[in-house]
Symmetry: C2
Subunit: 418 residues, 2 copies
Amino acid sequence: MAIIVHKYGGTSMGSTERIKNVARRVAKWHAAGHQVVVVPSAMSGETNRLIGLAREISAIPDPRELDMIAATGEQASSGLLALALQAEGVDARSYAGWQVPIHTDSSFTKARITAIDDARIKADLDAGRVVVVTGFQGVDDQGNITTLGRGGSDTSAVAVAAALNAQECLIYTDVDGVYTTDPRVVAEARRLHVVSFEEMLEMASLGSKVLQIRSVEFAGKYRVPLRVLSSLTDPNIPLEQEMQSGTLITFEEDAQMESAIVSGIAFTRDEAKITLLAVPDRPGVAFSILGPVADANIDIDMIVQNQSVSGHTDFSFTVNRNDFAKVVKLMHDTIVPAVGAREMVADENVAKVSIVGIGMRSHAGIASLMFKTLADENINIQMISTSEIKTSVLIQDKYMELAVRALHKAFDLETAPT
Amino acid sequence: MAIIVHKYGGTSMGSTERIKNVARRVAKWHAAGHQVVVVPSAMSGETNRLIGLAREISAIPDPRELDMIAATGEQASSGLLALALQAEGVDARSYAGWQVPIHTDSSFTKARITAIDDARIKADLDAGRVVVVTGFQGVDDQGNITTLGRGGSDTSAVAVAAALNAQECLIYTDVDGVYTTDPRVVAEARRLHVVSFEEMLEMASLGSKVLQIRSVEFAGKYRVPLRVLSSLTDPNIPLEQEMQSGTLITFEEDAQMESAIVSGIAFTRDEAKITLLAVPDRPGVAFSILGPVADANIDIDMIVQNQSVSGHTDFSFTVNRNDFAKVVKLMHDTIVPAVGAREMVADENVAKVSIVGIGMRSHAGIASLMFKTLADENINIQMISTSEIKTSVLIQDKYMELAVRALHKAFDLETAPT
């Protein structure tokens, strides 16, 4: 039978009762003859509690020590899950990242996995055990504990699945799959049975938040089939039914069951826009403006530069709203005088709405339908950015829900494709 | 300058404010030029919380997984202390047991330290760092996390001190030293400036509870000078004053500053007595009675067998009160019929009171003074047991405080020896 990796988030591990439910679900898979590796997150709230203690002591805690502290949450939850599996009559053993070992680089609090030794896990699987591996953490060359950053347990699970050549990596979470858009905004939002890895990548980075984006990249790189499904169903539902639930994220384009051109509508309010008006246009102006922003470790998302008119150009870009104040100060103090812009306009009240779909590659006119739909609703587009499989627009944030609902309807996402 | 090991208990580490106080104290030692290794316990309540979670899942949790869970408490507190030291401007780094490594056997939940690799600690000390090492835990030959059992952080500290050939191991706790007896029972109880390792061993095993007994054994074996002192004083008191505070536990007999014959009065209510009356006396009778008790993993403390009268003997022994019901059942069901005793008398209402003093070795008449003192108070002695440096009596428990106060006065413990 196949090797299957299960990943459970903090909510699924949120109490001893829930941990027992996880154990019942895993025991069902084990009883069906699968070799199961489980990667749990810390119990919900635990990581925040630990980091909160660290911040009470130090406003900017040393990342090495922060990882030492934060990694304990998953170690405890993994031990508890192993106990719960044993209580279900399943032979189980838990391992911390360093015990596997899961090798990482030394970028504390945001380490990257470099290699996973599969010998210990395989020996246990072959001995009939369920193996519990702590999510979120690893060990560097010097034997220091590292963590992968928030949501890193998804990445751990995918990496373990890749190392073991697992048949599927099941990400159990508190939603039952990936939707065409957020059901809280569009009541008719529909669960996708299959979504391509590229689409998922765009939807995750655009704020769908179902999966950590690095885990999706990892899955793509190692071609690990991922399934997002609910941990809130009865753990004893038939295995066949569970295997068809949720959303499968596939890297095989021709295996796609659904032929929609647009798969979903993503949106976010996390952006803020800065525009420099009438910048004297000369070679290197973009670098003069954005180089210092990058140097300050601030990620830039959308960038638009208009055609130069009489030697002057307008230059706009967006950053995460958390970085807004910092960027405004940087522009005002340094960049605006340096590049000789006439004026700066800064706007936090913006939202980004995107249509995502692998079918956009081969279909013309998709962007036009998007622009027409927004025009019909009298929504002004401030910026446009496109890639092969998505088109994003920046609009005034008060129109965000209206835009999402209109687009969901215009692209006929409420009905499943035939 | 010398290597000094500090150990802080759970109360001293009980909040981030207290952890900051610990850091201030350690920083003071470091600033004076000492090389300092700190061994902290988990934050108070944390180990109980973790074990409580494990017990919610499994009544008898797998010891390997229990250690995996319980060890996280010290890992978190060690990281927090390293952060607090850094906040004091001290370069500091924390290590979990497996990172040092502290090698142990595989007796999960009660492992014994077999070796400590000092290379990593020494390299950090030589680089001017304070090193924080998790108490309570180690790693076995197979790379499993082990714990040393309750109070094991004391043992960790002493073992680290032994491995580093430290000048002194300072056990910071919520009492300010070892007293002639419990000040809650005898108001005149006096702090001992120096106590011999053998006396401390007897006082710890008799229930003084200041130090875990295994840590004292360890200190004796490796001749590590131990000092018990308060973590509740102002962390900024002058170093000279702090170095003279508390109680020094020494293994050098001639270095002893105090010449008292009796150093302290220990007592405990944790015992219960079983007496088998009129047991037919024949070779092997003691083994017939106590062998099955030992087989049931029950520790026996005092044992008294009287002179045989007309072929019959009375046989008494004491066990921990927690084991009382189990032993009574074992006696009643099996042993009494097997050895042909006429009757069993079981009594929980007993207390053990002991006088402890290394001077007893060379002074006669000490036990007599004890018996006379108790007789003067009309306290009946039920059992007597003696060793080279202590004499213990079992009495009815309601007389315990009276006995302790009378003995404290009779041996003149309220005044310091000259």
